[in-house]
């Protein structure tokens, strides 16, 4: 089974799990169509489409046995190479959001922008200095525009108090 088939099965499993949860939605009395009516219809549709995705994948693979050969021949390392910076960005952003309530928006933003800009760019001292300067200037600009001008209170940190 190919990638689409696996995605279809995964979707089908989630759909069935959610469908089972529709039984827990309270049905107010004297109402012919309760709040579970629409989600059940929708999940039924999604389930049917997931089955169709699996079936399409299985059938297309049966008629085209060469479809994955090229990909298998490509080395694993070469295939994951472009995703290094993508994963790094997700990882740092996740850390940034987790850090925000602890150290506050300003400190978290300064650290995140400096770290990501430096890690995505060329690894040189000059680029490091530029990244930190950019992070400081950008954090200050965001603070003045959103907090001072637009009166939006950005998250404060429980540790830093700022």
């Amino acid at each position: 089974m190919g990638r689409d088939g696996i995605v279809g099965l995964f979707l089908l499993a989630i759909t069935l799990w959610l469908y089972q949860h529709t039984g827990e939605i309270p049905h107010p009395p004297f109402i012919p169509l309760g709040p579970e009516f629409y989600p059940r219809g929708l999940l039924g549709l999604l389930g049917g489409l997931s089955v169709a995705l699996v079936a399409t994948d299985v059938l297309s693979r049966g008629s085209d046995p060469t479809s994955r050969r090229g990909k298998k021949e490509e080395s694993f390392r070469r295939r994951i190479e472009p995703y290094g910076q993508v994963l790094l960005t997700y990882f740092l952003f996740g850390g940034y959001v987790a850090l925000m309530p602890l150290v506050g928006f300003r400190v978290a933003t300064l650290l995140f922008v400096a770290a990501l800009a430096w890690m995505l760019g060329p690894r040189s001292v000059r680029h490091g200095v530029v990244s930190v300067s950019l992070a400081a200037a950008f954090t200050a600009a965001v603070y003045f525009v959103f907090e001072v001008y637009l009166k939006l209170l950005l998250p404060r940190g429980v540790i830093t108090g700022v």
Partner: protein, 507 residues
């Protein structure tokens, strides 16, 4: 007329005017930088509009939208890299003309053609939006339900990779709106005990997460070290005789008119977008030309077609957004989010309930279109420099502004987590070749579909009414036709793919 005067007077007040100018400038810069789409620029500007009154905020976003279409052509002509997807066809002749030693002519042909196309499309925008909104007021829940189904079927059937995946994306988008309190009785559904989910997923963090991450991560994947720095070439001669350029455009009035109409029509179609308009108008200009072989060598015809169509596309997209609350493309989807943030319910009642705002939007569209020329004239050198901003600086800045926008919806860090999680989902969907447009449309229309379906069945339990009421029936028949067309297209593509793989490669 009174509404026009009132809207224009409000628009000309310094704070609103300044915001509109700032929006056009931001759109031009964002559009000019390859990798920053107009949608992304609107997303970045959006948090700045939260503190504004609705007209000021929407005028800013319309400024970004209009400015962005013109910004895209600057990198398309000078660098050969379209700044936005809606400037792809502009590169064909624009860049060739610039390379030939006429960069100023190439840029200004595009800017003036965009202005004329935009202004011409402004008239149908006003007439079309008002007429369609008036028509939609006569609709009952059956018609609304069927109209939204038609919209979803069009978007799913136009999906790039697979009709089935388009439908799945739409169904997932619809399901996301089910999470939270149900719109009729207020009963919580799928909240799993989380108080945060009682009001459902907040629309903007989801939308921004899906689009911003998907776009940025793809850019990171594609990027090669030092590519951005190498983009800008030596000094470029940008001065030009504007009279000559305008005369050149008017000498091709049929091309201008046809391309404008194509852009307008594509814009009206839900979630299709300016890239399709740009390419289709270019293709048609070539087909109707007496010298099609010269297309791609740097002739004015190609630039005029491409740029008048993508600017007209903005007007078309605003028609469906204002008349029905259905986004014409990703940018208007974000603008619908902006309306919701300002407490305004988009949909057929929008124009009749907020006429001052609707006319203000019309006026903002015209003013932003007119402003593009003097702003480009003043900032062209800066725009040329702007295209060299490297991606490693853009990515963190964009993500932080996206996080601020998500947080600012109701001052919750949980919204930033939503932004992040949907950022993961959006990127995964792109990698698995699921289209994003049906997901977003499902997210926008989900509540309305449910409310109208339940309302229709509760009013009259006969489901056949969806088919027997003429307008509702027509919409459903068109949905089936659209779906059938999608199936035929998918089969054609599959056959073409099989044929291509059967033919041995010549090296």
């Amino acid at each position: 007329m009174e509404l026009w005067l009132h809207a224009s007077a409000r628009l000309l007040q310094p704070d609103v005017l300044l915001s509109l100018v700032a929006g056009v400038v931001a759109g031009l810069i964002g559009g000019a930088i390859p990798g920053i789409t107009i949608t992304m620029t609107v997303i970045l500007v959006l948090p700045f509009t939260f503190g504004m009154d609705p007209l000021q905020g929407l005028a800013t976003l319309i400024g970004v939208y209009v400015g962005g279409e013109s910004g895209g052509l600057i990198s398309a002509t000078l660098l050969g890299i379209p700044g936005t997807a809606s400037a792809v066809a502009t590169t064909f002749d624009g860049h060739a003309m610039a390379k030939r030693g006429e960069p100023g002519r190439a840029v200004w042909l595009g800017i003036w053609a965009g202005l004329l196309g935009g202004l011409l499309a402004g008239i149908p925008l006003v007439i079309g939006a008002l007429t369609l909104a008036a028509l939609a007021l006569r609709f009952g829940p059956w018609e609304y339900f069927s109209l939204f189904v038609l919209t979803l079927s069009i978007v799913s059937s136009l999906s790039e990779h697979s009709l089935l995946k388009g439908l799945i994306a739409a169904a997932v988008g619809l399901f996301l709106t089910v999470v939270g309190s149900d719109p009729i009785m207020g009963v919580p559904r799928f909240t799993f005990g989380l108080e945060y989910l009682r009001t459902g997923f907040p629309f903007l963090p989801v939308l921004v997460g899906v689009y911003a991450f998907a776009q940025l991560m793809r850019d990171l994947e594609r990027r090669r070290a030092g590519q951005a720095a190498a983009l800008v070439r030596g000094p470029v001669a940008l001065s030009v005789s504007h009279t000559r350029v305008i005369r050149e455009i008017f000498s091709q009035w049929t091309n201008l008119l046809r391309s404008t109409l194509i852009g307008l029509w594509i814009g009206v179609l839900p979630a299709v977008g300016g890239s399709a308009a740009n390419i289709l108008a270019y293709d048609q200009a070539k087909k109707f030309s007496r010298h099609p072989e010269r297309f791609g060598t740097g002739i004015a015809d190609g630039i005029i077609a491409a740029e008048s169509s993508n600017n007209a596309n903005v007007a078309g997209s605003l028609i469906t957004m204002m008349a029905f609350g259905i986004p014409g493309d990703a940018v208007s989807a974000v603008m619908i989010g902006a309306l919701i943030i300002h407490g305004i319910q988009p949909g057929p009642l929008f124009i009749s309930s907020k006429p001052d705002l609707a006319y203000g939007m019309f006026a903002a569209y015209f003013l932003a279109t007119l402003m593009t020329v003097p702003i480009v004239a003043a900032l062209l050198r800066l725009l040329v420099r702007a295209v060299s901003v490297p991606l490693h600086f853009l990515v963190p800045v964009i993500l932080v502004l996206g996080a601020v926008g998500a947080y600012a919806v109701n001052n919750l860090v949980a919204n930033v987590w939503t932004f992040f999680l949907f950022g993961v989902l959006g990127y995964l969907m792109v990698k698995l070749e699921f289209p994003l447009a049906p997901l977003i449309l499902g997210l926008i229309l989900g509540d309305q579909i449910e409310v109208n379906l339940i309302r229709a069945i509760m009013t009259e339990p006969n489901p056949l009414l969806f088919l027997t009421r003429p307008v509702s029936g027509l919409f459903l028949v068109l949905s089936v036709v659209s779906f059938g067309w999608g199936v035929v297209q998918a089969r054609r593509q599959a056959r073409a793919g099989r044929l291509a793989s059967a033919v041995p490669s010549g090296g």
